[in-house]
Amino acid sequence: MLVLVVLGYVLYLDHMVVKQFEGRRWTLPAQVYAAPLELYGGLALKLPEIEHELQRLHYRRAERADHPGTYRLAGEHFEVALRAARFADEARPPSLLVINAGENGILNLRDAHGAEVPVLRLEPLLIGSIFPIHGEDRIIVTPAEVPPLLPAALKAVEDRKFDTHHGVDPLAMLRAAWVNARAGQIEQGGSTLTQQLVRSYFLNSRQTLSRKLREAVMAIALDAHFAKADLMNAYINEIFLGQDGDRAIHGFGLASQFYFGKPLEELELSEVALLVAIVRGPSYYDPRRHPDRALLRRNLVLKEMADQGIVKGRDAAAAAQRPLGVSARFAGAYYPAYLDFVRRTLRRDYQEGDLTQAGLRIYTSLDPRAQDEAERSLEHELDRLDRLGNHPKAALEGAVVVTAPQSGEVTAIVGGREAGYDGFDRALDARRSMGSLVKPFIYLTALESGRYNAATVVQDAPIDLKLANGQHWQPVNFTRQVYGAVPVVRALAESLNLATVGVGLDVGLPKVAATLQRFGLPQPPEQVPALLLGSLSVTPLEAAQLFNGLANGGFHNPLRAVRAVISSEGKPLKAFTLKVTQVATPEAMYQLDRMLVTVMDRGTGRPARALLPPQLIVAGKSGTSSDYRDSWFAGFSGSHLVVVWVGYDDNAPTGFTGSAGALPVWAHIMAGLGTNSWNAAMPESLAEVHIEYPTGLRAVPGCAQDIVAVVVPGNASLAVRPGCGFPESPAPAHGVPAKPANTFLNRAQQWLQELAH
């Protein structure tokens, strides 16, 4: 009877092992890729930057570029042995690329035969994967992608009789039992690779006798049903090799990326040996936290490999001299906040199981350079601001979103000052009062009404509104002063609350609300007067959506991070394509954007000037919520929109305005991006004129002290500063920011001034 029960149990285990082993081999988290870097003649990427990009992809400098993943630098040209690459729309075999670079960037690209290549993308950087709740992440490798040294080393160190035993090695177990009994604790494993595989697949790690027996039975069953090569491949893909927050690093494919940032097949002897060393205790031998232990054990592995004749003693000795070679940051490319956005985008179309198991390849628009710049600037500036801040207990937090305005692609997201930490994602989830970030939308509504332009004089005067609930609403300016009659351009540049509320009430709350919704606000805002001072709460990502329309000439495009999803077989499943909708007239948009340029030159954005390249033209707006709880800055160049939020998680006052808190972060990011000036074409019906900044009266340069260039409709009628002469001129101007007029005009002006004197 007992025999029958045992037999039945063994058969049950046998059945379960086979079923699960076959099923489990195919669960693959989706792999997520950054945008590939497009190379072409004329790209402003200099030699060191090109090299940096190659190294980001873990290309190695070599004497000859003869192995995929290596490059040679000769004078001003690179020879790059490109790896095979899979893009959303094509697969490319390994090939040779020659990059000729000059002082200002890439001159041209050539292939192995010397033919010119007009444009070519480097392979996309793997930035992570979408792993299931229990946190197992892995990159599956096929036997062809495994360097032969790896299985040999595993056998040498973990299981010498792997090729001949039947799943268990009784002698090794006895020997381990003997050692452990004498030591009074577990010192030796004695488990075969198959047993370790069983443990990882099916069992928890409690060390009990019954579990040991079950493990042995299952290992024998596995060994009986599957070929050794299959078991080795399963082991290589299954075994636990490290922990990164919630994420468990499984398999040598991912471990290779996690520790060295490159594919398994490119690992060198010393690197293979380190991974094999880690198997025994991924936490104890963590090469980042315990490099000394890891180094000792790696060299032990190397010695073992040499002793067993797998490598030459000379090679092992040389490898033992190498440093660990582990990348400093986790794989150099782990962006949890960005991945969070990708995951949320895909959850609309995919089941959790598809994402965590089906081996999808997800191509995103993440720009590693922008991401790194945003992370670095936020961390650095928050450290500085913390020293000035007024919260004794908490550290300031922040979030950054960077987009490419014309395409609406999100190129970077930072969810907090510890960017690599997979926690609360402020860019997506911190919903905070937008403060004065709302003002551009009020003035845009005003411009579209046709009743306002940049030179229109408005009253910055006390306001007392009786609300529906009987209370009185009495907003004040930031400085608590009242400025009287000011032109619109100044009201926006200096973020005057009273003037703006006056304009907003004049054009009407429903119109302002409609503008915000056209630009992508997801919910209709509450139409209360406080809306005009930004009582509305938005996430940094939503703020980026709103401002993206301003940066994109009045065209709305839904912000997107995912470009395409490809099946594990390479079949395109879904593309997120560029879609634009015009949400403002080109004329109103251009006038507003020019006023946002003035914000940077004359207004609350001015402190950024010292940090930006002198010739760079940018536009933007600061935002500060009541009691300085939120410090915002949103602004754009010709090729980047950057939105920064700074505040405390507990919503305590920061003591910083948008200009003091978020602006320096913003300016550092902008300066580091290598961005292009904002340079939109002025619609032909508009004209650039000069007004006196304090009064809004028209005045030629030199005629009054404080003159600013603004853009107004060509037929707008402007009041003239007494004493400043004005002739009529033909066709309106075209082009951007005020350039010194041509010599003809200068002479004409001198002549006029002489007449006046």
Partner: protein
């Protein structure tokens, strides 16, 4: 010289008050003083006819546009659009690439998107009559595809007037 003389003469004759007229209503008060139409004055931005531009594709964008044409020709509009998006990332301000993308959308019978892309191209094309005309042609075709023939004719007329400028 021809465009410079009249304003100077006018200025000499009329001082600074060229046009009376009420300033636009500006909240509570309007500024005092006489108004002048917002034509550039001396010392202001150049007021010659708008600088003429002529957009062209860079070799990189051109290669991608050609590749997109091959995809379109084979009826693979998704690939064509993806390839044009690559070109747009390289030259986001070039209206010619936006027009190409609009043409792909039109071939896919997405008239609304073709129209929007045409208008996007138009805002970028200021100063380039040829690119402006191509934008209007695209807009006209996208209107016609949706049965809005009257508006299509207007758009076509605008394209025509640019071509002869």
């Amino acid at each position: 010289m021809r465009w410079l003389l009249p304003p100077l003469l006018a200025a000499a004759l009329a001082g600074c008050t060229l046009f009376g007229g009420t300033p636009p209503h500006a909240g509570p008060t309007a500024p005092p003083g006489a108004g002048t139409a917002a034509q550039p004055g001396p010392g202001e931005a150049p007021s010659a006819p708008p600088p003429q531009r002529s957009f062209r594709l860079s070799p990189a964008a051109s290669a991608l546009v050609n590749q997109a044409h091959r995809h379109s020709g084979a009826g693979d509009y998704d690939q064509a659009a993806a390839t044009l998006e690559r070109a747009l990332r390289i030259e986001p301000d070039n209206p010619l690439v936006w027009i190409e993308l609009g043409r792909v959308r039109l071939a896919e019978r997405d008239g609304a998107q073709a129209d929007a892309l045409g208008r996007k191209a138009l805002t970028l094309a200021a100063g380039d009559p040829a690119a402006q005309a191509s934008s209007w042609h695209l807009i006209a075709d996208s209107l016609r595809a949706r049965g809005r023939n009257q508006e299509a004719e207007d758009a076509e007329r605008r394209a025509g007037s640019l071509a002869t400028r």
